[in-house]
């Protein structure tokens, strides 16, 4: 056989193999199966899998598809697919994100809603877990752990390296951090911090730089801190005297999704005591329910000072806050 002919055969074979793969149901043609659920997860598998697996056991006929990505990507996807949504549920994100994009989500009333401290008046965001965001120092860069945020800006610590911070304009995590710090210490603190900060648009970068020691300090979720430290990362949290930063994340029903009933059922399960026991034991996060203890390795918050920004200010004045932040950056 001549080389060219062999090449064509190889190509044809690959083509056929490709076509032989089972096709996903194409949205326009397939009858939407009622035994399905598509979750857009802005969370890693370690957060979602234990709960989803338990739900699968309860609902053997249900085909659950999970698409993962960053919060920003998921929101963009949902927005782009608005005319014919593919996702049923968005898992992840703070209440502000849902408020900003509230045209994308549908209201839902969950029976267990009373067990959660935080609530979304519009009924679109449903709390799931609470995460402490620590200022964390990398001990290969700093000689001792500061006792407050303010101390982190002192000449001693400035000399040891920059602080990693993500961009509140694009990151919900950073927005929480900035609003909390402003609440506790005012804008001058932010102005000063920006003078010694490595800014990034990606929260993941912030986490990595802190863990790897590219920066002297950064902000990290408590669960990640616990896990990194357990694997030997040289990190120490700052139990700041001004208070700890808290972020809630939750889930919401995507408006117009293909399987609203399945999504609601899942949301209800997600908020149940059983699911949150899994959160405590297998996911290792701090449940947002008031009747569940924090997971192992996480600080017991009883007696800890917590920064509580005014939710009204955080939501309503978002544009002003972001503009002020940008202004601070410009002045550098």
């Amino acid at each position: 056989m001549t080389p060219p002919r062999r090449a064509w055969i190889v190509v044809a074979l690959v083509f056929l193999v490709g076509c032989a793969r089972p096709e996903p149901t194409k949205g326009s043609k397939a009858a939407r199966p009622s035994a399905g659920l598509t979750i857009y997860a802005a969370q890693g598998g370690e957060v979602t899998d234990p709960v989803v697996d338990a739900y699968r056991v309860r609902n053997p006929g249900l085909v659950i598809q999970i698409i993962r990505g960053g919060m920003g990507e998921m929101l963009s996807r949902i927005r782009a697919e608005r005319e014919q949504p593919i996702g049923d549920l968005l898992w992840g994100g703070s209440p502000e994100m849902y408020a900003i994009n509230d045209d994308l989500f549908a209201k839902a009333e969950l029976p267990e809603a009373g067990h959660f401290r935080q609530r979304d008046p519009s009924g679109k965001w449903h709390p799931y877990s609470i995460n402490v965001i620590y200022l964390v120092v990398n001990t290969t860069r700093v000689r001792r752990v500061p006792v407050s945020y303010q101390e982190m800006l002192s000449p001693e610590f400035r000399a040891q390296g920059p602080i990693a911070l993500s961009n509140p304009t694009v990151s919900g995590t950073a927005y929480t951090i900035v609003t909390s710090l402003v609440t506790a210490l005012g804008w001058p603190f932010i102005d000063s911090m920006l003078g010694n900060a490595w800014l990034t648009d990606s929260s993941d970068s912030m986490f990595k730089w802190t863990k790897d020691g590219e920066t002297a300090a950064g902000f990290l979720f408590e669960a990640s801190l616990r896990d990194y430290v357990a694997s030997g990362a040289p990190l120490q949290p700052v139990l700041a005297s001004e208070g700890l930063i808290m972020q809630s994340d939750g889930a919401g029903l995507i408006s117009g999704g293909p399987h609203p009933e399945n999504a609601l059922a899942f949301l209800e399960y997600m908020s149940s005591a059983e699911a949150h026991e899994i959160v405590r034991t297998r996911v290792g996060r701090r449940s947002a329910r008031d009747d569940v203890a924090p997971a192992k390795g996480l600080l017991d918050l009883a007696g800890q000072k917590l920064i509580r920004p005014d939710p009204l200010w955080v939501g309503r004045d978002r544009k002003i806050i972001l503009a002020r932040f940008d202004e601070a950056r410009e002045r550098l």
């Binding site: 060219p4 090449a7 690959v14 083509f15 193999v17 490709g18 793969r21 089972p22 096709e23 996903p24 194409k26 949205g27 326009s28 890693g44 598998g45 999970i66 993962r68 960053g70 919060m71 920003g72 990507e73 929101l75 963009s76 996807r77 782009a80 697919e81 014919q84 593919i86 994100m97 900003i100 994009n101 290969t140 509140p168 694009v170 990151s171 919900g172 927005y175 490595w198 990034t200 648009d201 990606s202 993941d204 970068s205 986490f207 990595k208 863990k211 790897d212 020691g213 590219e214 896990d227 990194y228 357990a230 694997s231 030997g232 990362a233 978002r318 940008d326 950056r329 410009e330 550098l332």
Partner: protein, 554 residues
């Protein structure tokens, strides 16, 4: 001549027109909304040029823009400085391991993206494997994270491409030309500088252009190793995908600026080459000459060192795939766990990647060949420049932006493609058409038009000419071009991120998610990356053996 007569006379006109329409719909239309939204003010109602102006006035945007331009220029210059002389020696002088060198260079061009950056951080990050030792030795080493890191990874990432292009340019020079110079008294080195270098200019400038625009559009490397250095593609990525629902006006304006920069570079290249004649008659290859022994040793040594650096990331990733990973931190003992995880959970993406790449490559090669034919053999007043522009545009659009354009256009009745394999194939095809076209053009230039005219003269229609003569003669070049296109598609990430569905998850997605996620699955990323590298390099190697093509497909 009436239009119908013209069509009968030259059926390629119809082909060109069809291609024009198809490309217009697939390439231009989805991106038109970018133009539109770039001109919209924050209120979404009025039109303004503010979005563009802010790229010059606002610190955040201006910094990204300036960084991108600086990075592009510096990286390109350095990559050329390293690759061109080495390529020259390998093209014109007899050096050991020549074939191996070309194979390695080809493999280098097909490397999976951004993993290189992560590997270098693993080695030379602040707490990297080598860094503490370097500091212990007294060297003032801090970290590879930062501007210099982007340049370092960029230069070695582009090395393969620059080397291949330069090598090809130098190797296809008519040896008589330099000999003519020497016969008039020029020393051999004078002849090299005055004759070989300028004549190789088209190939070298093309390489420089490709490297430069590649750096301008690269988002993985700066994202990982750039530290606080912000660059345009990453900025755009975040502008579009921000959680805060930011007005896409800035991202759209930035996209157009990116496209403008790349186009400007192209114009510059054209300007430099215009009005000069590079006609070379012979297809004779140069017989390699000998170097003095010491020079051979030095050049071979430097080449070996260069390729070692190029492939360090691959070795590091392969090594790390056998380590135990916990929460993003590697440690002993050695284990096969990462491969077990791959076989159990991630085998489907391997097939998906292959299938999607194969289909889109096939389409890209067919369309690219047709486009190349029109570009090389025809010169229509309006159509030719239009087709050329339409073909190059996808190369200039960041993958993320292209994907969003497609989602917006193809997510409504009657054509709903989002979430299906078809939209991915479409995105890949659009992104790779420029490569396929350039590769086919390179092959076509080597086929003398007389051969086609001879077929016409014995009664073959243009379709028959294409089938019986042209395609046979360019087939080797097409195959190697198709292979490279296939492999680049296999490792594509930025468009895939926006378009994949549960059943169309590719290897790149698996790697990216595991590497960027906080879930500590870098071990899985490493093992998948190794599988991807093997999937890429083995076919590439085999194809090179079968079709040792002379043209640089890249």
């Amino acid at each position: 001549m009436t239009f119908a007569e013209r069509l009968r006379r030259d059926p390629w006109l119809l082909v060109a027109m069809t291609l024009g329409v198809v490309l217009l719909l697939l390439v231009l239309v989805p991106q038109l909304w970018i133009v539109r939204s770039s001109l919209l003010a924050a209120d979404g109602q009025s039109f303004t040029l503010d979005n563009f102006l802010r790229y010059l006035t606002a610190v955040r945007y201006r910094t990204a823009l300036l960084n991108s331009v600086a990075l592009a220029i510096i990286t390109t210059l350095l990559a050329m400085v390293v690759a061109v002389p080495l390529a020259f020696f390998h093209a014109r002088y007899r050096l050991p391991g020549h074939d191996m060198v070309l194979t390695l260079a080809t493999l280098a061009t097909a490397s999976p993206p951004f993993l290189g950056a992560y590997a270098w951080i693993m080695l030379l990050g602040f707490n990297g494997i080598l860094s503490p030792s370097l500091r212990a030795l007294g060297l003032p080493w801090h970290s590879i994270v930062g501007f210099h890191g982007i340049v370092w990874v960029g230069v070695w990432g582009a090395f393969g491409l620059a080397f291949l292009f330069a090598h090809d340019s130098f190797a296809s020079l008519d040896p008589d030309l330099e000999e003519a110079a020497e016969s008039t008294g020029a020393s051999r080195w004078r002849a090299h500088l005055d004759i070989a270098l300028p004549l190789a200019a088209p190939g070298l400038l093309t390489a420089a252009y490709l490297v430069l625009t590649g750096v301008l559009a690269d988002f993985g490397t700066p994202r990982i190793i750039g530290g606080p250095v912000s660059v345009l593609p990453v900025l755009l990525y975040h502008e579009f995908l921000s959680e805060g629902g930011v007005n896409p006006g800035m991202a759209s304006a930035g996209s157009l600026i990116s496209i403008g920069l790349a186009t400007g570079t192209l114009m510059l290249q054209r300007l430099i080459l215009a009005g000069r004649s590079y006609v070379m008659s012979g297809t004779r290859r140069v017989a390699p000459r000998e170097l003095p022994r010491w020079a051979t040793v030095v050049v071979t040594g430097v080449t070996a060192l260069a390729f070692l650096i190029v492939f360090v990331p691959h070795l590091v990733i392969a090594f790390s795939s056998f380590l135990s990973w916990r929460a993003d931190i590697p440690g002993l003992p050695f284990t096969f766990d990462n491969y077990r995880a791959l076989a159990l959970r991630s085998s489907a993406p391997v097939f998906v990647s292959y299938a999607l790449s194969a289909i889109s490559t096939l389409i890209a090669v067919v369309v690219g060949t047709l486009l190349a034919y029109v570009a090389v053999r025809r010169s229509y007043t309006l159509l030719s420049p239009a087709l050329q522009a339409l073909t190059m545009i996808p190369y200039l659009i960041p993958g993320t932006v292209l994907a969003i354009g497609l989602i917006v256009v193809f997510n409504r009745e009657p054509i709903r493609l989002t979430g299906t394999w078809m939209i991915l194939v479409l995105a890949y095809f659009i992104r790779k058409v420029p490569y396929a076209t350039k590769s086919a053009e390179a092959s076509l230039y080597q086929v003398h038009e007389n051969l086609e005219e001879a077929a016409l003269s014995v009664g073959a229609t243009p379709a028959q000419v294409l089938r019986d003569v042209t395609s046979r003669l360019i087939l080797p070049g097409l195959v190697s071009g198709a292979t490279l296109t296939f492999l680049m598609t296999l490792t594509e990430l930025s468009s895939t991120l926006m378009l994949y569905g549960a059943a169309t998850t590719t290897m790149s997605i698996v790697i990216y998610q595991a590497a960027m996620g906080m879930g500590g699955q870098f071990g899985l990323a490493a093992s998948t990356a190794v599988v991807m590298m093997v999937s890429v390099y083995v076919p590439l190697y085999l194809v090179r053996k079968r079709f040792p093509s002379t043209g640089v497909a890249a």
